[in-house]
Symmetry: C2
Subunit: 152 residues, 2 copies
Amino acid sequence: MTDRLPPDILIGHLKEAELRVTPQRLAIYRALVASDAHPTAKDLFEQLQSTLPSMSQATVYNTLQALVEHGLIQEIAEAHDGAVHYDAETTPHINLICTNCHRIEDVLDVPLHDVAEQVTARSGYQFQNMRIAYYGLCPRCQQTLAADQPGE
Amino acid sequence: MTDRLPPDILIGHLKEAELRVTPQRLAIYRALVASDAHPTAKDLFEQLQSTLPSMSQATVYNTLQALVEHGLIQEIAEAHDGAVHYDAETTPHINLICTNCHRIEDVLDVPLHDVAEQVTARSGYQFQNMRIAYYGLCPRCQQTLAADQPGE
DNA sequence: ATGCATGCAAACTCTTTGCAAACGC
DNA sequence: GCGTTTGCAAAGAGTTTGCATGCAT
């Protein structure tokens, strides 16, 4: 778009945040950016077992915490499953959460600035971020449930 | 406003939900409806210690779970403090979350149906509920932080 | 070389569960 | 009286912490 995109743009993000570039951090960050499943710390830990067998759970938690603090990723706690999920998409957007299968999808193309501006104007808060959790049944689960319970 | 409000409207809600009306349930439900602080289970437990000293924490957790399942209250997990907060306001609205003092306020008068409709149309999801978390600095904390750190 | 990051294990918090006694309907 | 709800205590899950070793800068 502007310059060429180096293959290690994530390394650049880490350096700009003044975080040391360790293999663990880079692997966690890469896995999260590559995923669209909004994984938990445990998900990432298990996924990276094959690549970094010696990595500890604490490192995953510490790293995710560091990335959040430096604004590189965001937390999602809206899944109501007791675990914090993470999201590499840091701009305000909508999370679609299926109350049956508990998957989380992103909706990036519904504009939210109007809502944000209205809230800012009325509340006097200084805007930092916004997250919308939309709870519903995904199309797949609608069909499944309709088939299972024809009466309801 | 419309009719007279009977003092035990909450009892009616419990009965409509086919939940037995126990002193513990009523006290928890009342405390939550009366509060605008979006308390956690532990908050409610501690608050009700003086009224119901024999009540156990498990009862608070069980009761809140039952109230959520029957649609009388809602969970808020967006505070990112590791605990689930609860809200007696069950219509879609915006939660204003101060990232400095961690208080949660409601914004009830910003319309959200447009956003909900757009998402429903694009996603094919069957709408159930929506929750908006707006993160920012409340006016009080803006002043406090400005005074503490004049350079930033 | 300096000091931040990692790995390990224990600790901590929040929440859930099992079971007997108590209570609402 | 029947079946749900409570209270207690223990267990469970997710996350954090302390400290010595290792590694990025």
